[in-house]
Symmetry: C2
Subunit: 278 residues, 2 copies
């Protein structure tokens, strides 16, 4: 029982009567997907209806969440027929007309996959390139993301890249919290400051930092000192047990009691003080 990620607290979601929309960003490799999957499980365990969104083409949130056969999930960006039907252009097609406000309201139900009480949508990779403007997928993904953030009344956990520009201005206001994950390393702190700028550009105001792979107090101090004005809401310890669990294909959510306790504390901070919110 002590190894559970968090105690099941039936009715917390109902008692709070809130939806929480959390976007998780940061430099590649800092642990965005780890935090996204563990937080998704915390929210589900507390009774929230959880929609996890994998918007980082370099990640595999399905695998981290323990979905069986993650490779069988087709990312939205690869559904060429659907993209053409909704935008008027096939992915990778350039020069043609693209419908900028495609209809997406029916897509979440059609496209989400479910496992262990968590629903998941995988957005996929937008191909970029030189000679063509690969925008049909981009238009559909952005419309879908906007819909999910603006319309869904549930806990939405969005695992995304450091480039957060695909949160459109209107959408960004729907995000309750942007968590920037960092690790002890200057590059990840630089990325955090860049994400803060991008966030401010598009109107996201509630930013928090989670520091991952932290080994000792000097690293904690270093991170806090180098992110002035940003609130660090949690420190997740470096624990090789997570690497071992990953290599052995064992679930990460009970691989490390230390990591689980740290994520549980972050979950508590995120959900406490939310009562006043609609």
């Amino acid at each position: 029982m002590a190894r559970r990620l968090c105690r099941r607290r039936p009715g917390l979601a109902q008692r709070l009567a809130v939806s929480m929309k959390i976007a998780i960003s940061g430099k590649g490799g800092v642990g965005k997907t780890l935090l996204s999957s563990l937080l998704s499980k915390s929210f589900a365990a507390a009774g929230f209806s959880v929609l996890a969104i994998d918007a980082d083409p370099d990640a595999n949130l399905a695998a981290s969440l323990g979905f069986p056969d993650p490779a069988s999930i087709t990312p939205v960006s690869e559904m060429a027929d659907l993209i053409e039907e909704r935008t008027g252009a096939r992915p990778g097609q350039s020069g043609s007309f693209i419908r900028l406000n495609p209809r997406v309201d029916d897509l979440p139900e059609r496209l989400a996959v479910k496992h262990d009480g968590i629903r998941l949508m995988v957005m996929g990779r937008i191909k970029r390139g030189g000679t063509g403007c690969y925008c049909a997928e981009g238009v559909l993904l952005q419309a879908l993301l906007s819909h999910l953030l603006l319309q869904r009344n549930e806990a939405v956990i969005l695992d995304m890249e450091a480039g957060i520009e695909h949160l459109a201005r209107g959408t960004a206001r729907a995000v309750d919290r942007l968590i920037i994950v960092v690790e002890p390393g200057r590059r990840s702190l630089e990325t955090a400051l860049r994400v803060r700028e991008l966030a401010s550009d598009i109107g996201v105001t509630r930013l928090s930092v989670v520091a991952n792979k932290v080994r000792h107090q000097a690293e904690r101090d270093f991170i806090c000192q180098n992110l002035p004005g940003l609130e660090v809401i949690g420190f997740i310890p470096y624990d090789p047990a997570l690497i071992e669990a990953d290599l052995a294909a064992r679930p990460l959510d009970d691989a490390s009691p230390l990591v689980s306790a740290a994520v549980n504390e972050i979950f508590q901070k995120l959900t406490s003080g939310e009562e006043g919110k609609k």
Copy 2:
């Protein structure tokens, strides 16, 4: 002396009379930039004229190479006037005409910055987004990258993202070796297999793997077993001394004798057996 990254071997570059063009890819956070900067230094120490290219917007190769004031270097993608002059469209402008073969041959001399015998170009971030097709920067960056790979007779070290699609088909053949960096972690191996597919699509045939942050034999075995058909040309050990050096803003190239020895071995493998090549 034992702590030098590699022994200076004057004339190796001349003796080999080769140019080497190495692209370094892999999942975010695996250590592409570390390997790019240490290899750049190895090539420079051996007498090669080195051009390092930062094509990963999530990285900071300038800082890793010890360039003073990396923030003062303007990435090519942010040179709006230059982009407009060469492509006919400003960055972020959509719907307008874009010249698909912009002239770039004069740009390397104009835009590269030099420090410690290494020349560096920072490509920058291509903005993606929903409603506009942000392609002017993309067109210029791809033309520039093609030029650098096809025309320059020197050691080119290209630090890039896992999405290697901006290596156009013709350019890809100019790359002598694509190194995929992995770490002990399933996601990084999945990314490696995806990069291999992309590489095959665009005609890159010489692929090698470097495994970073390796702690013990079981991790080495795991990596080899899970990358069938891919040659692992080096294992770089996990050494917290690198984190300490990074946080203290000390140069990484003499922070860890173990890491330096491993990179030196990789450099030897890359340059040996190249005599027969033009």
